[in-house]
Amino acid sequence: MKICIVEDNQKIREELASFLQKYGYSVCAIADFDGDVVSAIISEKADLLLLDINLPMVDGYSICREIRKQSAMPVIIVTSRNTEMDELMSMNLGADDFITKPYNTQILLARINSVLKRAYHTVDKIDCGRFILNLSKSMVEYNGREIELTKNELRILNTLAQHAGSIVSREELMNDLWSSDMFVDENTLNVNVNRLRRKLEDAGLADVIETKRGQGYLLK
């Protein structure tokens, strides 16, 4: 998935690009606002547009309007103005979502994810080596069998899969759950991880999630 960043602040542009790249997106950025910004964006053929509203020379809102006339690409508007008026205006211009600066990066990721999912109805599958995690059906596929997962279990396994091979701390897991409105505490996390482990074991997938004492969990 390719994300196009329209942002006039150089630091934010670069840091945001490297942040998104770390999470597996390919990124292009528009840095030149003298020319025809709209056709520059269109020609990048990105899957999603992250559009800052306060730009030099041009107004982000008018860019959004132009993009909507020419393309159906999903747009997330990023702004430091956080009134209800701004949000309504963005939505009326056809933006898919609206996020205010300074953004919490986990929430930004969650928003990008859900907008992409809504726009492309992609069947998200992650190949985890021994099994396949089907995100859209919330299932683990293994040996022709399908193991159903709850919302929390799916989220946990997804996070572990994204960092496959490295340790994910319990805080990170919980942060991730919280950013998608599952406000679990430590005990619930334990219960969820154990139940997930048992489910996988029952299906013949033993020792998939390893506990690293004092550090976190690891997907093998």
């Binding site: 990066t105 986990q106 919280w178 430590e186």
Partner: protein, 337 residues
């Protein structure tokens, strides 16, 4: 205006006239004019004196009494010049003109100050939006260098910084004269969840349980304002959560005349004698002073913003056991839409 007051005012004039009358009468007497003529002359003289006085008194009495009762009935006394009757005698006109001139001068002074205040507010709003860019980029830089030792501390300070900046913004908004919010039908669940997400890091770090009750209720409010208020309240609850098994619970209930949103914690609570003052500007209290982090602005702003939105804001607490903040959305404010 009383007759005696009026006569006192004209005393000098009356005495002088009587003196003249007496002297003329004396002169006539010395000239051996007949007493009937003197009495007739005296009567004419007094009539010429009294009739205009009575007419003048009446005119003034009517004007001043009307003026005073109008002033008394008026809520904004400074509007008197605009609605007073225009008098038809010289002194009254002087008063009328003077009031108008002074009113105009006052209006200009007010205009100057409100313009200055408006400019200041605009500057603050702009400043807040400007400073968000470096904050946003600092956050991203930190996120991309999470493994450096300083990252955690910096990131916590960044949270504090962001919260303080937001307070400034809402303070500027709360003191604005004009309406700066937009009331819409808003789901309490979305707001509560947004606040929980914003505070996720600190909740997890301190092991605070976040519980929600029934939140599937919609109220008419400004989503951004109420999110700020809720965030301040939750921020306080986190700050003063000092026990094993800390817990913060947000729940809503609909009653016949209003919707109640309760934010309760099982923290250290507020001493009873301070409960009435916690919403005062700059009040820090025992808890705030002991932790040296309180600015005394958070709850003050919450109460003030709630007042502007037409919501109620109530705090109950039991020292040592916990605090519950209740935001009340009266049913009547739902008909204002």
């Amino acid at each position: 205006m009383k007759l005696t007051d009026y006569l006192k005012d004209k005393m000098f004039f009356l005495l002088f006239d009587l003196l003249i009358l007496a002297m003329v009468a004396l002169l006539f007497y010395l000239l051996a004019v007949g007493s009937m003529i003197i009495i007739f002359f005296g009567a004419v003289f007094i009539a010429c004196l009294v009739v205009p006085l009575v007419i003048d008194y009446h005119r003034r009495k009517q004007f001043y009494n009307g003026f005073l009762s109008l002033l008394d009935a008026l809520e904004n006394k400074n509007l008197i010049a605009e609605i007073m009757e225009k008098p038809d005698f010289r002194e009254g006109m002087i008063l009328y003109d003077a009031l108008h001139v002074s009113n105009k001068a006052m209006l200009e002074a007010i205009k100057k100050y409100s313009k200055a205040q408006e400019e200041y507010r605009e500057y603050i709003e702009m400043w807040v939006h400007e400073i968000k860019t470096p904050i946003a980029s600092s956050r991203l830089i930190l996120e991309n260098h999470r493994d450096i030792p300083a990252a955690k501390g910096l990131s916590e300070d960044m949270d504090t910084l962001e919260n303080l900046v937001e307070q400034v913004l809402f303070y500027a908004r709360s003191s604005a004269v004009e309406k700066d919010y937009m009331v819409r039908n808003t789901g309490l669940k979305e707001i509560a969840y947004a606040v929980a997400r914003r505070n996720a890091k600190i909740f997890i770090e301190r092991g605070i349980r976040f519980e929600t009750g029934d939140l599937d209720i919609h109220v008419n409010t400004d989503a951004k304002w109420i999110e700020f208020i809720l965030n301040q309240v939750v921020g306080n609850a986190v700050k003063y959560c000092d026990k094993d098994g800390p817990e913060i619970r947000i729940t809503a209930r609909r009653e016949p005349n209003a919707v109640f949103l309760d934010i309760s914690d099982n923290g250290i609570g507020i001493p009873e004698e301070e409960l009435g003052r916690v919403c005062e500007k700059g009040f820090t209290g025992t808890n705030g002073r002991q932790r040296e982090k309180s600015t005394g602005m958070g709850l003050y702003l919450c109460a003030r913003l709630c007042e502007k939105l037409g919501h109620g804001f109530k705090i109950t607490s039991e020292y040592g056991k916990g605090t519950t903040v209740t935001i009340i959305f009266p049913e009547s404010s739902m008909f204002h839409m």
